[in-house]
């Protein structure tokens, strides 16, 4: 039995976890391979549904400075290190896979125990902050495609084996019975359906997204009487919901595990610019207005612009209610429903799993 431990760090979104789950699912499809997750995330719902063995730690870098953690901050990193050591001892992984962020302590612990390690690296700029020691300690670095940048950074050239793969997304069948799906969510198939997706919803700073979108949709509803809106605020969302609660025809959810089929059934999606969201929108081809979320390690505005260059269905959304309302009305007048400009990405997780297993075979 080959045990693969997937270490995932996340704080303000669910992208890293989502990708690790996709890879875990692909790994589980290989005979004799058992995936185990070690996640440091604020997620509480997404991972539970997948049924993989899982260790859960808090997202270390997302701990608020004024929280009760402060008192034990002095022992904080030792605490994580001790737990990492225990996890490695308990399951004795044949491979440790990091997603984009590599913590020194778990890397060195695994290295001391001669546990092979690999890296799935989503954001190319991040690589500059990873030490050459760590990069050279990887058996393989898997680079999932991103609309943003395709070049291999200098840091990686000549250091380690690089494997490219298609975007790594959780599996989607590509088939949607639109009427059935909409009815299942209490929506009317004959009405104009807009999905608002705030991704993980875990912005650390005040985020005006729902204020802008709520204001815009109220304006739009004066022109489109049969508008219905399904809003998913994100499982990490903790702000007030006032901004969206007054939207006519509203269906409000904190979290839905699988939004892609709903995207495919909608006339319009209003979303953010994270890796998973953008690639899912490209995959589905639904008309989309994307408003970037501010992230410390990602440039969502750039990704949205790059996606808009490559595919007709993605546009950058105006960040004012009036401007966004005009865009929404334009899109809904001439919908590109069901149209996809890009190849459908279904193979990324499988390609990554094969590359990871090949590295230890």
């Amino acid at each position: 039995m080959t045990t693969v431990l997937l270490h995932t760090v996340g704080g303000d979104g669910l992208g890293h976890l989502s990708r690790s789950l996709a890879i875990a699912q692909a790994l589980a499809g290989h005979a004799g391979v058992r995936p185990v997750l070690l996640t440091e995330s604020r997620d509480v719902q997404l991972a539970e549904g997948y049924g993989f063995p899982m260790y859960m730690l808090p997202a270390r870098y997302a701990i608020p400075p004024d929280s009760a953690w402060q008192g034990i901050r002095c022992v904080g990193s030792q605490l994580w290190r001790n737990v990492y050591a225990e996890v490695l001892a308990q399951i004795g992984p044949d491979l440790l896979v990091h997603d984009t962020i590599v913590y020194d302590d778990i890397f060195h612990l695994a290295q001391l125990q001669s546990i092979p390690q690999s890296l799935v690296l989503r954001q190319r700029p991040t690589v500059a902050s990873i030490s050459r020691t760590i990069l050279s300690g990887m058996r393989v670095i898997v680079l999932p495609a991103d609309v943003r940048d395709q070049a291999i950074p200098d840091h990686l050239l000549g250091t380690t084996r690089i494997e490219r793969c298609a975007p790594i997304l959780r599996p989607w069948s590509g088939k949607v019975v639109r009427e059935t799906l909409l009815v299942q969510y209490g929506l009317d198939p004959s009405a104009v359906t807009t999905i608002v997706c705030n991704a993980g919803g875990g912005a650390f700073i005040e985020d005006p997204f729902l204020d802008i979108v709520g204001g815009a949709l109220r304006l739009v509803s004066e022109h489109i009487r049969d508008l219905q809106v399904l809003v998913v605020v994100g499982p990490l969302f903790q702000q007030a919901l006032d901004a969206v609660c007054g939207i006519p025809g509203l269906r409000l959810y904190s979290f839905l595990p699988d939004l892609v089929p709903l995207f495919a059934a909608a006339q319009l999606v209003i979303a953010r610019g994270g890796y998973n969201t953008i690639h899912e929108l490209l995959q589905v081809g639904v008309p989309s207005l994307c408003l970037p979320a501010r992230r410390s390690h990602d440039d969502q505005a750039q990704r949205i612009d790059d996606a808009a260059h490559q595919a007709r269905n993605v546009q950058r959304g105006q960040e004012t209610p009036d401007g966004l309302a005009v865009q929404i009305l334009d899109v809904l007048k001439a919908p590109l429903f069901g149209h996809s400009d890009v190849d459908v990405f279904t193979t990324g997780a499988d390609e990554a799993a094969v590359a990871l297993l090949k590295a230890i075979s």
Partner: protein, 371 residues
């Protein structure tokens, strides 16, 4: 003055154990300057993440989460995992006091064996604790203090005799319950409701009992009759993080559905009527919220039937209900048609203050060795 406190909450079908320990951490923080605490949890991340209290999750066994491990690993391997993580945490954290809730979970007690920590059990009387007391498990000898989160008068003579078997100090504290705040008026505005709009809040606790799904279905089936009598009525469903049944979609009646809300207190106080099961925390929270409540006890929970009749007798706003949608609809409609203002704010009762002071005093005595 408590120093480092390590809490362990076993949590499989509800959130009661974790909620109670969070209440104790909050009491200690309010009352006697808790220095450091850390929670070992087995679930309920959404609950603890709604506080700022530190946590580490240990693998859980003995419930639905076991399957994910046992599919890939042997049982003998799995059984060592919680103990190992507990030991790894305790070595670094160095607790002065370890607090367990109701269950003396062997892997955790074994994991702290190498420390000199004093051990407190918060022991709610129910079948879980009775079984452990009757079988005389050796872990009881490790205890330094037992806090019973009930009034002594609530406890039967037989149970009091059981508790006398414990060698350490046993203190009856009264209900240990959190006051999960939030402004009910603001919440109503957020939900698009005026102060007078009739609102049913259905809370299913942690949502782990199978009965939770049946209660939800009964309330949904009662919809037509309720709307016939109170046409503007809305329903909010708080199904709990462990709930695995299918949820109704939001529509003109079902206003909002949520797997978890950190400010449950605001929902309870914003309600015209609460429909719930009879878990320890929910019942004490509805008492605190002073809201008309229909409680439908889950027979699969060891203590809910007795609690339902006890609370119905003691608190005039609480009525026991059943799964029959017609009966339920009539009970809900009757309460909805009674005029009632939404509570202004959460006012901690004298009972809560008294309990907090008692708990703080017991922890201080434990720390100074004056037990």
């Amino acid at each position: 003055m408590p120093g480092r406190i390590l809490f362990h909450a076993i949590n499989h079908v509800g959130l009661g154990h974790l909620n109670r320990l969070l209440a104790i951490a909050e009491y200690l923080r309010e009352g006697c300057a808790l220095k450091q605490c850390l929670f070992l949890i087995e679930g309920g991340r959404d609950l603890i993440q709604s506080t700022d209290l530190p946590w580490i999750q240990i693998p859980a066994f003995g419930d639905f989460r076991s399957e994910r491990w046992l599919k890939w690993f042997g049982i003998s391997e799995c059984e060592k995992y919680p103990e190992g993580i507990t030991r790894a945490v305790a070595q670094i954290f160095g607790p002065d006091i370890v607090v367990l809730d109701t269950v003396l979970y062997k892997p955790v007690v074994a994991g702290i064996a190498g420390t000199s920590a004093k051990v407190v059990l918060v022991g709610r009387i129910g079948d879980l604790l009775r079984r452990q007391l009757d079988s005389g498990i050796p872990e009881f000898d490790r205890l330094d203090l037992v806090l019973v989160p009930q009034e002594e008068a609530e406890i039967s003579i037989t149970d009091r005799q059981r508790l006398r078997k414990i060698k350490c100090r046993v203190v009856y504290t009264g209900p240990i319950v959190r006051d999960r705040g939030g402004d009910p008026q603001q919440l109503r505005r957020t939900l698009g409701l005026s102060e007078s709009d009739p609102l049913i809040v259905l809370t299913l606790g942690g949502g782990g009992w199978n009965f939770a799904e049946r209660l939800l279905m009964s309330v949904i089936e009662a919809r037509g009759l309720i709307l016939h009598k109170v046409p503007t009525c809305k329903l909010v469903i708080l199904c709990g993080p462990h709930f695995t049944g299918s949820l109704p979609k939001t529509d003109d009646f079902v206003l909002y559905v949520s797997q978890f809300e950190p400010n449950v207190g605001a929902f309870l106080r914003a309600a015209s009527v609460v429909v719930c099961m009879c878990g320890y925390n929910t019942m004490n929270e509805v008492v605190l919220a002073e809201v008309p409540t229909i409680c439908v006890p889950a027979p699969e929970a060891d203590d809910q039937l007795a609690r339902a009749s006890d609370y119905e007798r003691r608190f005039p706003r609480i009525t026991t209900g059943c799964l029959d949608p017609i009966v339920l609809a009539n009970q809900i409609s009757a309460l909805l048609m009674e005029p009632r203002r939404v509570s202004e704010s959460a006012v901690p009762t004298d009972q809560r203050t008294k309990t907090r002071q008692l708990v703080c005093a017991e922890f201080s005595r434990l720390q100074t060795g004056d037990v």
